[in-house]
């Protein structure tokens, strides 16, 4: 055998050993399930894909509305529908074992707020004209085209903000464009 052949056999044997180690390692590391959460092979955690997709749809709808491609009435109808879907998706997430901590925290805050009797609520809070859920005034002042997160009702003409201009039919709203 010449030098090149010996080199080839040596490297080839090393490759073979490497392959055997790669293949065999899984059997000697204690039969860890390949669904191990910490496995670096699957870094993406996307259980919230349903919610992600709905949020995407809301963003797209907002953009289409800004661009004038969706009439106001249809925009509000679709927005309400997407928000209901999002609420259902969040509910499913909360009911599952793997709810994100951020959502759990928000849920606790919401429950705590709801537990406050209406008369004891601070003045910064006003009831939704449709479902009576507590709503912060500041949210309406900051977001002109806001809707109630509980029932989807438009807050544009709520009694707390009579000065707020009502969006014209078929005109783009002033919500921020993504």
């Amino acid at each position: 055998m010449d030098g090149q052949t010996i080199f080839a056999v040596f490297i080839g044997a090393a490759l073979g050993c490497f392959s055997l180690v790669m293949v065999g390692y899984a059997f000697f590391r204690g039969n860890e399930p390949n669904t191990d959460e910490s496995s670096p092979v699957f870094p993406a955690a996307d259980d919230g894909v349903g919610l992600e997709s709905i949020l995407d749809s809301i963003d797209t709808l907002e953009l289409e509305h800004q661009l004038g491609n969706v009439p106001e009435a249809q925009y509000l109808e679709l927005l309400e529908s997407y928000r209901l879907q999002a609420a259902q998706a969040i509910k499913s997430l909360l009911e599952s074992d793997s709810a994100p901590p951020e959502l759990l925290l928000e849920q606790e805050i919401l429950e705590a707020r709801s537990a406050i009797p209406a008369n004891d609520r601070p003045h910064e809070w006003v009831p939704c004209p449709q479902c009576d859920a507590p709503l912060p005034i500041v949210a309406q002042e900051t977001h002109g085209g806001a809707v109630c997160p509980h029932c989807g009702a438009s807050l544009a003409a709520s009694p707390v903000d009579e000065e707020m201009p009502r969006p014209e039919a078929d005109a783009p709203s002033q919500a921020p464009v993504r």
Binding site: V23, G24, E32, D47, P71, D97, S98, P100, V177
Partner: protein, 660 residues
């Protein structure tokens, strides 16, 4: 290095086969260790095939002519920079390149696959590795790039002269990567079917890999057209050659797929349709590889001496029939989550777009295989050429461009006529204005008018969307228009990346319309000092310099180009003759501007010093080549990952420790 390469191939084959079998067996037996082991084998193929690839590259660089493939595709005179081209210049090397690309793509795809797809991942891995096993088996047994000659020749036969062009560094590898890359979205689709995950779990990886392979094919096709334009010497860029068509058809199917997969991602619709589309794309990709390797229709691109045709035909049959059986097996589970709300919606526009794209693909397939069918029906072989494709595909492509303008202006779910009228008013107005101007300047060719009018319609629609979005953002956030526009794109990358790609398609369309309806060609023989005119150009042939090289003789002509009596440039088209190949290759001299190309190529060098020139004026073709980088930019924008807005899930709650 040949021995090491051959050993690596055999190890790779064993690993790929083990990975395919182990992944499925692990899944069926519920053995996580076996599944992990199968995936590890798949990762190992990357390392092993990298060693094989490196072995062949080193063999080329060291001109190891004992290896038959190296002796056949290189010689001592070949510059080292062409090593990369020589690597895939023949059947065996291109198979190794394909195997390497597939193993890398598979590893990345599995590594980056979504967690919710994990249940189906062993099947997906198995499909990828079965395809890889096929290529490695063919290489190891029938077309080994490391086979040795019984003797060591003093010099090799050299690289094919047509391949010594800058475009060849990218065109073949991009096309081969694109064709084999379709395996990845196909594997995700098939894996989800096998695992009974017939929902939308495979949509994200399917979409990403669909776009990547689409972009590779698009880039490969454009670079191939540019190569043909500059080196083949006939002044055109697309010949409807069977192998060109073989790459074009899967690109069409993928174009349909990357649109309709968005409907599934957004609305949970078209589930059956998307799986069917990716199967069609994979089947057409296999057909393309079959055509390249001994397919029954002759082509300038195919590896003529290949005897692998029947193997690839068999593989194509299996690759089409087995997925079809699995598809019908899982058919009852493939119900869409939503129905089409209205025919006046973006979903409906995508559906029509899909049908048109598949229509063009079918027409192209029919034209490609018709020479094989015609002897059975008419008793003689009939070859179809450009007039057939122009007449049938031309109107379909115009309809497609029209939809490209309308679709993005329609909202999801449903639109009403009032909003559609409002959205289309400006683009239609711009298109009418463009037509009036074109008619006023005397243009009377109907197809050209339709092409330019539609281009104006689509471009104005896209620009209008950009302006409206930037204006809304400018009003809300007080950003200046440029910043607002960039933020708008960044915040809606898939959508605006798609618009950029649409603009690049318009550029290609401009080039096609310009060269198809307005080009001028003249073939003329000139003696030194003689002049000729074409349109408002005049050229003066000055003479030819003969430059001998070790492997070729170059005939470099000097030509002065005048326009309206004023000297523009002195250009030097050349023609080289390669005696070992008994082949001539040309390099056109092209003076390129956005308005038109002035193109001169020597078609014949006569013994008395006269030269036969082909001279062309090709309007608007510059836009076709600029479209490539624009398309790449749009693809990058569309694919740039977006951070998830939904918080990552909490770690599973560990069981409470039991008391000691």
């Amino acid at each position: 290095m040949g021995d090491l390469g051959a050993i690596s191939l055999w190890i790779g084959l064993a690993l790929a086969a083990y990975s395919a079998v182990g992944s499925v067996a692990g899944k069926l037996r519920g053995s996580a260790a076996l599944v992990d082991s199968g995936q590890a084998a798949m990762y190992a193929t990357v390392v092993v095939l990298f060693v094989a690839t490196l072995s062949l590259v080193v063999s080329f660089i060291s001109r190891d002519f004992e290896i038959a493939y190296v002796a056949l595709h290189s010689d001592l005179a070949m510059p080292d920079r062409f090593t990369w081209v020589a690597f895939y210049a023949g059947n065996e090397g291109s198979l190794l390149y394909i195997a390497m690309v597939l193993s890398v793509m598979s590893a990345i795809a599995v590594w980056r696959s979504p967690e919710r797809f994990r249940d189906a991942l062993p099947y997906t891995t198995a499909v990828m590795m079965l395809v890889l096993t096929f290529f490695l088996a063919v290489m190891s047994v029938m077309a080994n790039p490391f086979d040795k000659l019984p003797f060591v020749p003093a010099d090799g036969e050299g690289i094919n002269p047509l391949l010594t062009h800058f475009g060849m560094f990218f065109h073949p590898p991009a096309l081969m990567a694109g064709l084999i890359g379709i395996t990845i979205p196909f594997s995700f689709a098939l894996g989800s079917l096998l695992a009974r995950k017939t929902g939308d779990e495979w949509v994200d990886p399917g979409r990403v890999w669909g776009i990547i392979t689409w972009a590779l094919l698009a880039g490969g096709l454009l670079l191939g057209s540019w190569w043909a334009y500059t080196i083949l010497g006939w002044g055109g860029y697309w010949f409807w050659d069977p192998v060109e068509n073989a790459a074009f058809m899967p690109w069409l199917a993928l174009t349909a797929f990357i649109h309709s997969i968005m409907v599934q991602k957004r609305r949970g619709m078209f589930r059956m349709w998307n799986i069917a589309l990716v199967n069609v794309a994979f089947g057409l990709a296999l057909y393309g590889m079959f055509m390249n390797r001994g397919g029954s229709v002759p082509s300038v691109h195919s590896f003529g001496a290949s005897t692998l045709g029947w193997v690839f035909l068999l593989f194509m049959a299996v690759g089409v029939i087995v997925p079809l059986i699995i598809f019908f097996w899982r058919y009852p589970l493939l119900k869409s989550a939503q129905n089409l709300d209205s025919m006046l919606s973006r979903e409906a526009a995508f559906l029509v777009n899909n049908l048109l794209l598949l229509g063009i693909a079918f027409v192209t397939l029919w034209g490609t295989v018709y020479p094989l069918i015609s002897p059975l029906t008419s008793g003689e072989e009939i070859t179809v050429a450009r007039p057939f494709y122009d007449q049938v595909n031309g109107p379909l492509m115009l309809a497609l461009v029209f939809l490209m303008g309308v679709g993005p202006l329609l909202p999801w779910r449903r639109a009403n006529w009032a909003s559609v009228r409002r959205a289309l008013a400006i683009p239609v107005g711009v298109a009418v204005l463009a037509l009036v101007v074109l008619l006023a300047v005397g243009l009377r060719k109907e197809y050209a008018l339709a092409g330019f009018g539609l281009a104006a319609f689509v471009a104005s629609g896209i620009l209008m969307e950009w302006y409206r979005g930037a204006r809304a953002r400018h009003r809300n956030s007080q950003e200046n228009y440029a910043v607002a526009f960039l933020h708008l794109i960044w915040a809606n990358r898939p959508r605006y990346g798609g618009y950029i790609v649409h603009l690049s398609v318009l550029m290609v369309a401009l080039g096609i319309v310009g060269t198809s309806f307005f080009n001028t060609q003249k073939d003329v023989v000139l003696s030194p000092g003689e002049t000729t005119t074409i349109e408002n150009y005049e050229i003066r042939y000055l003479g030819t310099t003969v430059v001998p090289f070790s492997n070729r003789t170059e005939f470099i002509s000097s030509v002065e180009v005048y326009r309206d009596g004023k000297l523009l440039d002195t250009i030097t088209p050349d023609r080289a003759f390669y005696p070992d190949f008994n082949m001539a290759s040309t390099r056109a001299a092209i003076r390129s501007t956005p308005v038109e190309d002035f193109y001169v190529v020597p078609s014949e060098n006569l013994p008395d010093g006269d030269v036969g020139f082909r001279i062309l004026v090709n309007p608007l073709i510059w836009w076709m080549w600029v479209a490539g980088p624009v398309m790449v930019l749009g693809t990058i924008v569309a694919l740039w990952p977006e951070p998830s807005r939904v918080p990552a899930r909490a770690p599973s709650r560990a069981p409470a420790p039991t008391a000691a």
